[in-house]
Assembly symmetry: C2
Homo-oligomer: 264 residues x 2
């Protein structure tokens, strides 16, 4: 049976709210995900929250009922609460009907199966959580084997990244690694490393060999020369305008679809 | 000569701060843009701010000096101020070195020259300012003739949209129209209307004829059936993952680059 919490000061509310903060996420090894669509996606991917908060008014929704029942069956806790507390948890005036507290996980490089897909996404020093989430969402759409984050990237378990991923955080494996171990892992098997670079050749005529690892550099600076030098191929998207740049998540997506269509 | 303002209560500071609010922007017909890169882009596109705020410490930067001189030469006001006030204006702890107050403008449909480009972007009921700005940035990169916003869209002059556009707001014309007048304008001349729709055919084998008008629907709902029925062609990006969706700005960009590469 769900319990009911209506006090802001309740420790469970405080704990969930604190998960919006990176340090707290790291200490507790947990994170927040919001919205019936994302929580249902998580459930279908085999991840259930340890706690699910839902508005009492939304408990009549059959999908909310099913989710609550699944959480309780798995030993998690279902908590009916007020719209005001949900708004506090989600940091939005117009909160989603459900918010879940999930155990975080790590995927080591060695757990990735490079034969699982012909396309992999790699991003280095990605700073914007919206970009990270959007890249995960694209990764889901193109059937990428996973996203590998190199160096100091934004936290994939941040509220904004989870939200922008629209649930793809639960379906696309995310590994975090430094550059040297990544390169060693990559070169221990087949794989074409393709870097997006303003110094690259036209992306449209290039040959892509599976599995292709698409490397996107930092939003402001692009990738270090050392990384570019290690790539098997450098490509550039044509830019006809005044500015010589594209959003990092957009450039990744255009490349990913090109590779999908052309892989040799 | 720049004047110096160090008081939060100064009416110019208050006015600029209020431009973060949509209602105030509409009343005053002005908006905010931040950052040396974006303001320089604006200047190069022929738009100078009526007021430019800059941190006194950054006045030694030659690009800031040049911008300030240009603003004053054009009859605008240059205001040296504190990092704290710049932070208040930009709503960020780590503010940009310059913030400009610009006069807003409108581009009526009839002012668009459809022969100016072979690709145009059209979005209906776009709700996310980051998506709007990102689509403008992509529009600049692919050399789009402009972005046409249909129906109730987020304000292209919002701080988040301007920021995500990275200056493309100043280089890519933005028109706002209702659906019926847009369709009448479109059909009064050549133009292939291509809609992104889950009911469409594969985008990769399709034929695109210039000028192509790429229509993207609302982030959550896609486009109304009536709009889809009016399209000359409906296309879909392959989605191999669990979720049947892509970010709207990402889908627009993948399509725009496809059209760029394949136009007949």
């Amino acid at each position: 049976m769900p319990r009911t919490i209506t006090a802001y000061s309740n420790p469970l509310v405080k704990h969930a709210r604190d998960l919006r903060d990176k340090r707290h996420r790291r200490e507790k090894g947990q994170f927040l995900a919001e919205g019936l669509r994302i929580l249902t996606e998580a459930r279908d991917a085999g991840r259930l929250p340890v706690q699910v908060f839902f508005a009492e008014a939304s408990a009549v929704h059959p999908l909310v009922q099913a989710l609550v029942a699944d959480v309780e069956r798995a030993g998690g806790e279902a908590i009916a609460t007020t719209p005001a507390i949900l708004a506090k948890l989600s940091g939005k005036d117009n909160p989603q009907a459900v918010v879940g507290v999930f155990e975080a996980w790590e995927t080591p490089l060695d757990a990735l199966d490079r034969d699982a897909s012909s396309i992999w996404l790699v991003a280095e020093r990605l700073r914007d959580p919206g970009n990270l989430g959007t890249i995960l969402r694209t990764g889901d759409a193109v059937g990428a084997g996973g996203l590998i984050l190199i160096g100091e990237c934004v936290d994939p378990f941040s509220v904004e990244a989870v939200r922008a991923s629209m649930g793809a955080l639960f379906t696309v494996p995310v590994a975090r690694a430094e550059w040297a171990p990544f390169l060693a892992w990559l070169r221990a098997g087949p794989g074409q490393l393709v870097g997006l670079s303003l110094d690259g050749g036209d992306y449209h005529g290039a040959r892509y060999d599976a599995p292709t690892f698409l490397l996107t550099g930092n939003e402001a600076q692009g990738m270090p020369e050392e990384y570019a030098a290690a790539c098997d191929l450098l490509v550039k998207l044509p830019m006809l305008g005044k500015a010589d740049s594209l959003n990092a998540a957009v450039a990744t997506a255009v490349m990913a679809y090109e590779v999908l269509g052309r892989q040799g």
